[in-house]
Symmetry: D2
Subunit: 279 residues, 4 copies
């Protein structure tokens, strides 16, 4: 009864043996915390059941959505950031956007990811529940965490840096997650270079800005974005939900991430998964 | 240097051995063919590089998107369709939408899928390049195709029904894909019941409406939606890109599909993948 | 050379003699202060000049806008508020919205206004630069102001109540205008009844909520909306720019207000004018 | 009882004597005919009555709108069109849009209009119910019409050119109004120069493109836009409802038009009025 093929495709065999999936994407809800630089997520139902019922008793409801692509859990395309007028690879940033879309480095050019993922649980290493606002996570923090966990960072990996700041995401006061007054923990240029030196594919964090933000300083400077997106072509994933992975001490996994192919856009909402075999 | 874990997690081992990924999602572009019942996809760049350059020479571009959730390649949540005032499981459809979102059967309740996927290549069975507009794909067509391919449909599968109509998606005239005048091929209630009887998890097609639409009849009746979404709780995926799978005769695979967790919405844009080991 | 007609149309004669126009509408800008209950105003240019230049050297730029209708200076349709399940005139509020639009009391049913307008400059009467947050403007305040100004309120008028709170609109901190922590000055049920008793056509204010909001209480209760919109069918105009009128002591004028005919909507952005002859 | 002021303000006296108002704006409805180059009008109710009822029995409904600014009845700002890289007055068109908005020539710079308006009823002159698709209205047509009506065009006027094509606006098939296959009647460069020579303030028409469009040619060239917007700084109003004015032979009136102050946008939806005294 079982087909020949599925006996031989090893991926399908593993899938059938049972997987455990961690959902690393935040639900998209009206009013969720975000940077004010981007159009917020908004949702409405133009048609609800009962609005228009067909003669046969059937009815359909539908949606109307408006949003930026850098709200909620999302991935930054290489087109998102430029430095001194250049995008990754040296393309002129100004010319690249002519026509209203980024043809070469837009989010539609990001291949779906099924890759080794590594969680670097920095607060576990530091012995704190979460990093403080404004704390700059260093290369030494990352190195020490990878060693302590026994999960060295390898070429092609997707590296997720947990600061613990994601604990604020669901706070009644959305402002605490954005952290304008407190600052937000994250890496700076130094740790970004450490990641780039390891030739990773993408880096993620549990904060909205990915970077270390000093209290009150806002986004005046984004050195980690520059190092990763512009200088080395490494994608950035933001506002990830990493608490559950940390609680379960899952530090290595298959990272599944499929950006929407929004033609020419600078980012995409995503719902990344960390997948391991079911115990 | 390799950690203990990745030697033992079988999924990661398979990922590292190399996978081939088929992209079953259509690019989201302004003006792509769609049903006029839904808000179209629209994209713009509120900020382009050069609009606001920071003192350190950095610049960021971003996006503004508006869309329905039943445009482009997308998945229907169970909340999308009701019959005689009831949703799947008997919930009152009118009450369910009160508050402007579907809490119990909205698209945020669809678990990410990593499952066996089966492509039923109906035109291959029928010996035609594609089914005609208005052709109703029958249970016998599906049965015969599954047998000919050696890929029986099993419980929990995601079944993708290729009609070949996806060849029209990129036509200069978007109207041919929508097929208002010609009709569109697809299954009706009879084949939907055949699928439901096999206890599948989701069904997909390469058309915008999934159903067989008669020429000129429009969406006056949607029996397959009723059977799958309302009566049996099986998700529907529409506007899939299935030609490449068919060309390569890939009839069985791991289907990866991760809906966006749009809280309370009736559907979500998706970019499904068919994944097999790399030869 | 002058036509016969324009000699005889008295309106045109007055127009030609010269008018002074006060702009009572706030500019619509991204990030302007608003209630978080509504989708914010957002604007982007999908096409800028240079994106697509025709062979003849011509180029067009265009816009993409998303917004609620109760942001910026706007008018509330009678469909906006219900009490005990009823809209103005007793229509069932629930049934009225079926179909996703308010057919009978939506903003498209508001006739364009060219009417007598009266500014009631309450702070001038009270001898303060502006009313305090949370101050409830009373019927006595309105009565006294109308008398002091020599501008009795008459049937059919549009009455604009200046609290002075509009001075906060352009504050760097948008939060001061919204006034969540300080409260906002405005009328309550008592003064609303005074207005209703005078059979006015519409009432406006220089605040976002029109009502007196107590510090920290938010929109838990909106008695003036109930009295005006639900009980007596009087339109409400919010977030008006009234400072210039007050500075010039223009208390009586022709009010010009033309809502957009947004079919079935509960409100519309407007740019009301106060017009008098040029001195 | 009447205040001193209103006895002396002549505008208010005329208003009180009674006015007749013609509504020249089309209702904004989902699916109305438009050019596919612009984001369509879409409306939804995020909150309907009953969704959230306060303890005191009150409830509010609200809206969510998305649209371009060149759909429905609208006005073109001078920033809308450029020629050879220049906007009106010689401003560099490319630089002008830097920052995502047109500061100097955006629609927020258009002053509200209360001006003499003239309807030029071209089909009445030609003795036809409406001009044919693709018919180019000439300067001679305009001259002859103005003379026949006894309404010479004067400096500062708003001139509305009726082609009769507005009769198609409400056709079941929206395509007939857009007229891609039939062409659309309108003026060309020659008649535009005739208007510009008369130093008018704005020109309007009952078509979506204002221009004469040849059958099948689309918007490949827009000479009247170039003459009016770029060369002479005259605003253009499109998709006006002019049939009722023509039926009543109202050829001269006060034109009231108040664009929304959409900061930096290239156009705005409007609801223009033609106002005369009540007979």
């Amino acid at each position: 009864m079982t087909s020949t093929t599925d006996r031989t495709d090893p991926l399908l065999s593993v899938v059938r043996a049972g997987l455990r999936t961690y959902d690393l994407g935040r639900p998209l809800t009206i009013g969720m915390p975000q940077s004010p630089n981007h159009p917020p997520y908004w949702h409405s139902l133009p048609r609800r059941h009962g609005d228009m019922v067909r003669a046969d008793g059937g009815s359909a409801a539908n949606d109307f959505i408006s949003m930026g692509t850098h709200v909620g859990t999302h991935i930054d395309a290489l087109a998102h950031v430029s430095q001194d007028g250049k995008l990754f690879g040296g393309e002129d940033a100004f010319d690249a956007g002519c026509g209203g879309r980024y043809e070469h480095l837009g989010v539609h050019t990001i291949e779906p990811m099924l890759r080794r993922g590594v969680l670097l649980d920095v607060p576990a290493t530091l012995g704190v529940p979460r990093c403080e606002g404004g704390y700059e996570i260093t290369a030494a923090d990352l190195e020490q965490t990878a060693q302590a966990q026994g999960t060295p960072v390898e070429s092609g990996d997707v590296v997720l840096i947990r600061s613990g700041w994601g604990q604020h995401f669901d706070a009644a006061d959305g402002a605490s997650y954005v952290g304008k007054e407190t600052g937000v923990p994250g890496i700076g240029a130094e740790a970004a270079r450490w990641l780039a030196d390891r030739d990773i594919h993408a880096a993620g964090a549990d904060t909205i800005a990915f970077e270390c933000l000093r209290a009150g300083a806002g986004h005046s400077s984004l050195p980690a974005h520059r190092v990763l997106l512009v200088e080395t072509g490494i994608y950035i994933i933001e506002a990830m939900a990493l608490e559950e992975l940390a609680t379960d001490s899952v530090h290595e996994f298959t990272l599944v991430l499929v950006p929407l192919p929004l033609h020419g856009a600078t980012g995409s909402p995503v719902r990344p998964l960390a997948v391991v075999r079911r115990d």
